[in-house]
Amino acid sequence: MKFTTLVSATALAVASTAFVGAAQARDQVQVAGSSTVLPYASIVAEAFGENTDFPTPVVESGGSSAGLKRFCEGVGENTIDVANASRKIREKEIKACADAGVKDIIEVRIGYDGIVFASQKDGPAFTAFEPVDVFNALGAKVLKDGQIVDNPYNKWAEFNADLPDVDIAAFIPGTKHGTREVFEEKVLAVGCEESGALKAMIDGGMSEDDAEDACIAVRRDGKSVDIDGDYTETLARIDTNPNGIGVFGLAFYENNTDKLKVATMNEIAPSTETIASGEYPVSRPLYFYVKKAHIGVIPGLKEYAQFFIADEIAGPSGPLANYGLVSDPELAAVQASVANEETMQ
């Protein structure tokens, strides 16, 4: 019967492909993780495929935590070789890795990423910006007239006359983003301390830990909006809100200078130079982590890691810097540690 032959032929074909697929060895490097590192990794992966005889690596997105979780699933061809992260690996994650048999991890710092505040091109200019201002505008509890109160401010000019007299509307990265952590640490916590709110909270009877947590809490009355999507979503929000101010990565801002106007921080405009020199305060290192057990098993893995941090690629005149990565002044040390396959302790 025609129908039955069709069914059996199909079943056979599918079964055989499944079998072949399972039996086939993987010959390309498999990378996953941070969506902040993804653009750089995709540039490197493309160049690696074009410039070597190895196949182009696969780079998946998904976020630092998701990437590291998959990285720590174990050793073997069906696990990823490299995890991209926009933050350092946590102790907890190292332990989870070790429990699953991933004991030797090579940490590679690829450079720094600047975090910038930007508003609509035609909107008001935020020039006299300092962490204190961001804290006053966005903190859940702020210091006003010597008292810790629920954030009472509606306009920027209410606490700093140099800022525009417009409604506060901020679009900040959601909690699932690695960028949020940097924003909390380098902007909110710093602003909290500088404004004296931290001291006032501790004096008011809070423990230090609680006060620090209270410092990085963001107001929830709609003036600050968490963006869980990508920077393109933040850009779309800024596009429709002339008074809005958004948090972006430096590379994203530099790619969209015709739509965005950058806010200075402590009167320093963000650029690869000011971030490299440390003048611009809000930046963070970017990493990727390599599974040492896969070196020599997956062809091209060590070569990929070395290619990524070569002077020609990650150096100040390479394509990564051209895209917006702040290159690491200590790149040579990183190169040496990758060449020697130095693992984390």
């Binding site: 086939q24 540039i43 495929g49 696969v58 997105s61 061809e77 069906n78 990823i80 999507g229």
Partner: protein, 449 residues
């Protein structure tokens, strides 16, 4: 009848309002009311269709008007000579494609300076205009080493910003100077357009090419992910159609009616309503972590989407089997056919058009699905090239059209947003051709009774 009893009887109709004899053509209140209700209902219907059509037109207009620029590209047409010595030197470096770019930019700058173009020609400006031609140049000379030392005609993709200027996305007024493009570069571009060095041509590489790095928007194409989608649909079709049809024939024609089959039925209906991301989680756990199938492979994507499509196919197949009149089965059984013969020779052919419709709806749903693919690693920089062969098509990492569109929409260079819209146009064309195929098949299978 007596007179005494008459008055009350005649009084009764007199008490009611006397029925006036009326023409059927005259419309009474009740009829008017019913007619008005019908008119109103028709008006609601027309409004609903109108709203639907309006949004369809708006959507189609948005997609087409924003997607069209993706189908044209700006090329720099130049003659370029690479000497054996330059070739060997470039091959000796680590970042070979960059070395070729530098040689090419130097050569083009010299060529333009000699050609008497009015605007000053700086190598930096040329670099911003030509984008990243290194890959194309290296690939060409690696394959054609005999062409070294002689002039070769190249059509190289201009950078995404120049492309944006040519397609009107970037204008002199809206742009600001950046290291990607300066206003002064545009004068040079205008001159090169006049000199026929820069041209706009149909963007074949967009349709046939693979994804590119985020700094190389001009080279990105959707071809590889179309192939990925195609292989996924093959898996879905060849798994879900036989399994789905077999399951529904058994449930509809053979299975006894009891608690157990009822439970199965309820579960199938519920499965159809499960969010697709759940199937992704299941796929990751079962197919990749337990069965050790390759990551990011269309085979796994197809398996996951098969699970998602099965309920749709089973439900529609059962509905179309039910729609075949029992008299057909009775007639077949009556002339001595077995139950299986009655089903396969008579019921199934009549139900075929309905089954095909259900299958196509299921496949179309699967084709547009992104969420489960997120979890099995098909989102990101994955569609890097074509598979090497038929079997590799199932097992080599690849992306799918909706996943590729999603990836592009999140990239910072706005040229990728344009690509995403173009990708949607390609996705719709793929979908339309699938539907047309279904209609043709349905016409061929259609039988009347």
């Amino acid at each position: 009848m007596t007179d005494a009893t008459l008055p009350p009887e005649t009084a009764q109709p007199a008490a009611k309002t006397p029925m006036q004899p009326k023409s059927l053509y005259a419309i009474d209140d009740l009829t008017r009311k019913r007619n008005a209700a019908e008119k109103r209902f028709q008006a609601y219907g027309i409004t609903a269709i109108g709203i639907g059509l309006f949004f369809l037109v708006v959507l189609a207009y948005a997609i087409i008007s924003q997607g069209i620029p993706a189908f044209s590209r700006t090329v720099v047409e130049v003659e370029f000579t690479l000497t054996q010595a330059q070739y060997e030197e470039a091959e000796g470096t680590l970042f070979k494609t960059r070395a070729y770019e530098e040689i090419f930019i130097g050569a083009l700058t010299g060529q333009l300076q000699d050609s008497g173009i009015e605007t000053p020609v700086e190598p930096e400006a040329i670099e911003r205009i030509v984008g990243k031609p290194g890959g194309t140049i290296r690939e060409f000379f690696r394959e054609n080493e005999d062409r070294l030392g002689e002039p070769v005609q190249f059509d190289l993709a201009a950078s995404s910003r120049v492309d944006g200027y040519m397609s009107g996305r970037i204008t002199r007024e809206s742009m600001t100077d950046s290291r990607f493009l300066m206003k002064s570069d545009l004068d040079l571009v205008d001159n090169l357009v006049e000199a026929q060095v820069i041209k706009t041509v149909f963007n074949w590489p967009f349709i046939t090419g693979a994804d590119a790095g985020v700094d190389n928007a001009a080279a990105a194409g959707i071809g590889a992910s179309v192939v990925g989608s195609f292989f996924m649909m093959l898996v879905v079709l060849f798994l879900s159609l036989p399994i789905g049809v077999a399951a529904s024939i058994y449930l509809e024609e053979f299975a006894p009616q009891n608690r157990f089959t009822d439970l199965i039925e309820v579960n199938i209906s519920n499965l159809a309503a499960v969010p697709s991301i759940v199937f992704g989680i299941l796929g990751l756990a079962v197919f990749i972590q337990f069965m050790h199938l390759p990551q990011s492979a269309p085979l796994v994507g197809g398996l996951v989407l098969t699970l998602m499509t099965l309920p749709t196919i089973i439900i529609s197949t059962r509905a179309s089997l039910k729609a075949v009149p029992p008299s057909i089965r009775d007639a077949a059984l009556g002339v001595g056919a077995s139950k299986m013969q009655a089903t396969f020779h008579h019921v199934l052919p009549l139900a075929m058009p309905g089954i095909l419709t259900g299958t196509i709806i299921g496949l179309a749903q699967a084709l547009g699905e992104t969420a489960p693919l997120l979890l099995i690693g098909m989102v990101g920089f994955v569609a890097r090239g074509y598979p090497e062969g038929f079997i590799e098509g199932f097992t080599e990492p690849n992306s799918a059209m909706p996943a590729q569109i999603y990836t592009w929409a999140a990239r910072s260079d706005l040229a990728f947003t344009e690509k995403a819209w173009g990708g949607i146009v390609v996705l719709l064309i793929f979908l339309l051709s699938m539907n047309i195929l279904a209609i043709i098949l349905r016409r061929r299978f259609e039988r009347r009774w």
